[in-house]
C-alpha cells in the first residue's frame, strides 16, 4: 500500500502552551488533528476555571486561519481548591474534562492535588454533569519514578474507581504492563490514552549506553522492554479502551539540554507518521483509524470527524528542530510515511 486515507484523527492529550510557542503548536497540531484535548497546566497561569478555559480557547482560536477546521477541546485542572460550583460553571462553558496532577509529579504540577479527599466533591459533580476525569497517574511522595504509576494505581486509582461508577475516567499516557492490564480488566467507565513515544522508548533510550538523552525524557518515564511490548499490544489489539493521546510537549532546547532538564517529548509533527508505520509493521493497518480517530471520540461521546487525512508512503527526514529551537521526537531520523498536503 502506498497511500492510506482515514478519518482525520483527534489527539486526546496535548500541550499547546501559551505565549510565544502557541502560534506554532496550534498550527502544527491543526495540520494533523481535527480536535485536540488541550492540557490545562499552562504557564504563567494554569487553567483552573471555565473562564480561564474560555480565555485560553480564544488565545488558541485566534491562531487559526479561516480554512483550518481545528477545534481545541478544553480542560481545567482539578486542584484541592476546585469546588462543585467551579465544575458546573466550567461544564456550562463547554469544558469537557478535568485533569488531575498529583502535586509535583511532572512539568508545571506544583499546584497539583495535595490531598485527594479534598477533590471528592469536585469529582462527584463531574460525574453528575458528565465531565470526563483525566488523571496523570503517578503517585507523589517517596515512591521511585519507576514505581510511581504502579503505586498510584494501588493507592488511589482503585479507590476512585470504586467510588465513581458513572464518572468517565482516563488514565493518561500509561507506561506499564500493569496499567495496561488494570485498564483492560477495569470497568467500562475506565479507559487509557497511550502516547506514541512510549511505543518506541524504554528507559535505555534515556539513560542507556548512548548517553543521557533529554529529548527522550518525559513523565511518566519510559519503562522496560516488557512494558513497551504490553503498550504495543494494547494499541494493536483493537481494544476500544485504549486510544491516542500524544502528550506532545514542546520545550525549547535550552530547557531540555540543561542542568535540570524539563520532562516532555515533542511528538506533534511525527506522531501520525510513526503510528502509520507502527500499524503497518504490526500488520494491522485496518486498526489504525480506530485508535487515532474513533475510540477516543466514542469514549468522550463526541461525533466522529467527517474530514479525511491521507498519508503517503515514502521517506521523510524529520527536521532537526522546529522554530525557536524545539527538537522533535525522532529528530533527523527517516520515517516511512508522511502526510499528503
Amino acid at each position: 500500500m502506498n497511500a492510506i486515507t482515514i478519518r482525520k484523527p483527534d489527539d486526546f492529550h496535548t500541550h499547546l502552551r501559551r505565549g510565544f510557542l502557541l502560534p506554532f503548536t496550534t498550527a502544527i497540531t491543526a495540520v494533523y488533528f481535527r480536535r485536540a484535548l488541550v492540557m490545562p497546566n499552562t504557564r504563567p497561569d494554569p487553567v483552573l476555571t471555565g473562564k480561564d478555559a474560555l480565555q485560553y480557547k480564544r488565545e488558541i482560536s485566534i491562531q487559526l486561519s479561516e480554512d483550518q477546521a481545528f477545534e481545541p477541546l478544553m480542560t481545567i485542572q482539578i486542584t484541592d481548591d476546585t469546588t462543585p460550583e467551579m465544575i458546573r460553571e466550567a461544564h456550562a462553558f463547554g469544558v469537557i474534562a478535568g485533569k488531575i496532577y498529583p502535586i509535583g509529579v511532572t512539568t508545571n504540577s506544583n499546584n497539583g492535588v495535595r490531598d485527594f479527599w479534598k477533590i471528592w466533591p469536585a469529582l462527584t459533580t463531574m460525574q453528575e454533569v458528565g465531565m470526563v476525569l483525566c488523571i496523570h497517574g503517578e503517585s507523589m511522595g517517596a515512591a521511585p519514578s519507576l514505581k510511581k504509576e504502579s503505586v498510584f494505581i494501588d493507592w488511589m486509582l482503585k479507590t476512585i474507581i470504586t467510588s465513581f461508577h458513572r464518572l468517565k475516567i482516563i488514565l493518561e499516557h500509561i507506561t506499564t504492563r500493569k496499567a495496561v492490564e488494570f485498564v483492560k480488566n477495569g470497568p467500562d467507565n475506565l479507559a487509557a490514552t497511550i502516547t506514541v513515544h512510549h511505543l518506541f522508548l524504554t528507559l535505555e533510550d534515556v539513560i542507556g549506553v548512548k548517553g543521557l538523552q533529554p529529548h527522550n525524557f518525559c513523565k511518566p518515564i519510559a519503562k522496560t522492554e516488557a512494558d513497551r511490548k504490553a503498550l504495543c499490544k494494547a494499541v494493536s489489539s483493537g481494544n476500544r479502551k485504549f486510544f491516542l493521546g500524544t502528550d506532545s510537549a514542546p520545550h525549547p532546547r535550552n530547557m531540555k539540554e540543561c542542568a535540570f532538564g524539563a520532562a516532555g517529548v515533542f511528538t506533534a509533527p511525527v506522531a501520525l507518521s510513526l503510528l502509520v508505520q507502527f500499524f503497518e509493521e504490526k500488520g494491522c493497518l485496518d486498526k489504525l483509524e480506530d485508535f487515532i480517530s474513533t475510540f477516543g471520540a466514542q469514549f468522550y461521546n463526541l461525533p466522529l470527524n467527517e474530514e479525511k487525512i491521507t498519508f503517503v508512503k515514502g521517506p521523510w527526514v524529520v527536521p532537526s528542530k522546529y522554530i525557536v529551537d524545539v527538537v522533535p521526537f525522532m529528530a533527523e531520523k527517516i520515517l516511512q510515511w508522511h502526510i499528503d498536503r
Copy 2:
C-alpha cells in the same frame, strides 16, 4: 571535633583526561590525594601499552610543581588485543593495574573487551607478574542499565574469580547491594572501590521529579535507595575489601548538558569533604582513614603515605563551576568540612 588530621589519601580510580583539562585535573587531584590510580581510557588515544603509560605519566608529571608530592599510579587498558608480552612490558614500566571495560558500556569504551576469552592469556600473565585487575563491572549487550552490574557478576565475574585465585581483582565503583554482598563474601583476592557520589545519589537524582540531571549521570548509574544504603554500610563497616576510588570524571558543561550527555561525575574537589561529613554523620570518623588512606594501599601492596592532610569544620560553598566550565558534584551546595590549606 573541629579539625581532623589523617594520613593523606589515595584515590584508586580517577580520570585526569589528556590535553586541555590535564593541568587542572592534576592540580586539583594533587591537593587532596598523595596518589591516584589514573584510568587509561583517554582521548584521543587510550593507554594500551607500557610505553603509552610512560608517555601519559610524563604528561601528568610536568603539570606538577616541585613542592607537589603527587604520584600518578599508572594503568593500561586490557583489550582483545592485549598480549602477555604487553603485560610483561607494562609491568616492567611500572604499570600496576590493567583495566577492563566491556565494550561500549561507558564513556570512551568503544575499544573495550568484545570477547572475554581473548583476554585470558593477558589475565594469566597479570596474575603471574602481580598486576592488579580493575574491572568496570557492567555487561555489554542487551541487559538494561539497571541490571548490567548484576548480570556482569553472574555472567563473567564469577568465571574470572573461579579461574584466577592469585590475581588481585577489583570490582570498580560498585553500585548495588548485590555487588556489596558478592565482594564481601568473595575470596580475599577480590575487593571493590566505592565512589563518593554513589553514597549520595539514587536514580531519582538523575530522572526524578526535579528533572533530568546530567551532572548526576554516571556509569554505572546510581540505583535504588536500598542499594545506596548497602554501599553506605559497606563504607562505614570498616571492611578492608572496600576502599575509595572516586571515579571523578570531569566533562565540560556542553558535553553534559546536550542531546547525548556524557556519563561521569566530577567529584575531585568535593570527595573528601563529603566523606568526612559522611563518616561524622555515621558516628565513625575513626574509620575514615582506613577507607581513604589505608585499605586501598594495602590491597595494592603499596607503602602507606607519610604525608598528612587536615580538614576543618565550617561551611564551604562548592563552586558552581571550575575552569572551562566543568560543573562539580554538589555545585553550589554548602558542605560542612573543608581542607585546611
